[in-house]
Symmetry: C2
């Protein structure tokens, strides 16, 4: 479902060019569960942002669901994101002045859903163990609770592809296991494609295949 070919990403900082991805090629089948590992700064989030249509590649080709998305405009990318991708951000990206409930409900509004939004959002928060925190705003939540709100928000539209950028970095191992159970359950029940960036080898061990990234290049890919 995802085909990436020779992707480069060069950030421009004034006159300086910062190469973040230096020619990345791989494929992900529909319904696959893969993990991405690599040192801090190696390009994992950059790659996830391109896969999730949040950022543009500098060169190369990205085919998503048989459609070339490499050269779409911002509105077209936004539409693909809303319809196909659930994204758990490394820094959560929650609205700090809205409650957990309102944060999780937001994708439902964008999807034009008019019925039962509150119930659906509450259920999603219960599924990540936050049923008793739904009216707290992000500054009134612990780091791991904020992370779980971000996870609940990514799942709420039952997207075909879930991209999770270090989803358990702020969680104790038991909460981390519960999140993996939840994600793997979606894969099992709905065939959701999962791409999980992680620094935790125990999380990676629960995925079918691990891609190692190093200095913007894929070093190896093993199952």
């Amino acid at each position: 479902v995802i085909k990436i070919k020779d992707i480069t990403k060069i950030y421009k900082l004034g006159d300086i060019e910062v190469p973040a991805l230096c020619g990345v090629t791989f494929k992900v089948k529909k319904g696959e569960v893969i993990s991405i590992m690599g040192p801090s700064g190696s390009g994992k989030s950059t790659l996830m942002n391109i896969i999730g249509c949040l950022d543009r590649l500098t060169s190369g080709e990205y085919i998503l669901d048989n459609e070339d998305v490499s050269n779409l405009d911002d509105d077209q990318l936004a539409q693909i994101r809303n319809q196909k991708v659930g994204f758990v951000f490394q820094n959560f990206n929650l609205l700090s002045r809205s409650t957990a409930l309102a944060n999780v409900e937001l994708p439902l509004r964008y999807a034009g859903i008019t019925e039962n939004r509150i119930e659906m959002a509450q259920k999603a928060l219960e599924s990540v163990g936050l049923g008793d925190r739904i009216h707290h705003k992000p500054p009134e939540l612990s780091g791991g609770q904020q992370q779980r709100v971000a996870i609940a928000r990514a799942l709420i539209n039952n997207p075909a592809i879930i991209l999770a950028d270090e989803p358990t970095g702020n969680l104790d191992s038991r909460s981390g296991d519960e999140i993996m159970e939840l994600l793997l359950g979606l894969n099992k029940d709905y065939g959701t494609t999962l791409i999980i960036v992680t620094h935790d080898p125990k999380i990676a061990a629960r995925t079918a295949r691990t891609i190692q990234i190093f200095d913007g290049l894929i070093k190896e890919s093993k199952s």
Copy 2:
């Protein structure tokens, strides 16, 4: 150096009371290296904020360096923070419109240091592996790089106490080891007291004593 007795912390959200710490008592000796572990939401960051004089306890007693800090006003707490404590925040708390260099330099300005600030800040960033990223602003850095800027900033004044709230959550295991080497080196060379909140048992294993927190209470403390 740190004596905490029967500390409670109750957050108020409108009419609702959220108990975060329910009577915590422990002592930390000068030069000790301890870790704090516990489930997400159990009260670790709340405890760290009280120890670091960033937040007030609801009841109980906190003696720091033989001085009762339980009832100081905001200015007095700020002074203690600047002089004695280096804090690595779980969510980094970097200034997003300032470079890494400016962020790390900030505590030196507050301490009234007028000479060599840039060199000292650059050296601190090199010590966490970010010598080639000093002019990047936080949005131009990876998650783990932002975490390392936060660490460099906490160390720059060579404080007597370092409080690190999940300092390796966004780091691969090798970068995490390098950070632990750095922190333990400060303890060895300067007798810096280290209190490290972590979800990683391998990090905790490198500390002399681990305190387990559960639902706002200390469950056990073992070496």
